[in-house]
Symmetry: C2
Amino acid sequence: MSYHKKNLKEKLVEVAWNICVAESWEKVNMREVAKKARVSNTAFYRHLKNKNDLKAELVRRGFEIINKGKKNLANNFSGYGAHYIRFGLKYPYIYDLIFGNTDLDISLYPDIEVLFDEAFDGVIQGVKTFMPDASDKDVMIKAVNIWASVHGLVGILRRSDLQTNKDKRLKWIKNNLEEYLKMTTFK
Amino acid sequence: MSYHKKNLKEKLVEVAWNICVAESWEKVNMREVAKKARVSNTAFYRHLKNKNDLKAELVRRGFEIINKGKKNLANNFSGYGAHYIRFGLKYPYIYDLIFGNTDLDISLYPDIEVLFDEAFDGVIQGVKTFMPDASDKDVMIKAVNIWASVHGLVGILRRSDLQTNKDKRLKWIKNNLEEYLKMTTFK
DNA sequence: AATTAATGTTTACAAAGTAAACATTTTCCT
DNA sequence: AGGAAAATGTTTACTTTGTAAACATTAATT
């Protein structure tokens, strides 16, 4: 039992991230996180206020990955959408944390609110590149529609994984994300 | 303390529903539910196996409301969409329960899987009414796209409630759901 | 009426979040 | 360098919550 690890906070968040990715947030508990970080049950509380703050950390990490898709928006907008969808399918439980519930009171974490806005701004920028002359209102409507389509698609595709006899055509969509997006929303 | 209430199960589910609607599932705890039903802490377990079963009951109740929107699909498809969206905005925490997470292991509740399929079938039927000659694949693609758009829109509009300075144009969408839907997805 | 099933209650425990007091290490100031 | 103060870990302990087990009462069945 050596006192004073370096970057214990990082370590704890990392451990929690791994548990959440593999087994969902419900399975993340402080004692287990502490054990895997080889530290006492409550060491955590020297670094974060409470478990909800830990959740916020995972949300921030998730956004880091999501926002990487924003490179090259102008000529690869559907790539951003596909990137977002793949994130949702690869990290479903993180995705749940970010978009799935309202339990995490966002107003407590203003920086996270900013991350949301940044992600959405990516959509707005993308829309403008192929609707350069549209009014702000029309851009907003299209952006909402695209964001909704992409976000909603994640829900459908995820569920199609869970369910047994889901239509095989969903598999086509999943394996041809960009084509599907161009065909439906990105136009 | 009178033994043997009639319909205690109904009562417990009702109480849990009310708590969940008002304060989210996280605030639903067995002792509080029992207290509000004026019954001992564990009476619940004579009627349902565990708390997850209670969650499943709330999901079923939610679907009852959602599926009421399926009347009159042929000539009021956008009404179905608007109904769905209004459900999501009126019962956000129930909506979370249904669509927001994957914690509730659906394969444990086959009847709920059926409810999902029924709701989605409504979309397929609706699409067929205005794309009568489309192939099954195209119908499916359009249906997924519409469902995604509608589902995703709920997420955006809900969040726009939570956040402070959200674009006012979202308010327009919220107050003109059917028009928005016709304009974007239902065409 | 007697047995059995159904349904409530009481008691009790285990898991999990976290507060508080204590211990050790590091930092920083003179 | 020496010692106070801050930072960071640990131990202990309390509370909340889900739920199992044993017991009590009422309802159903024969």
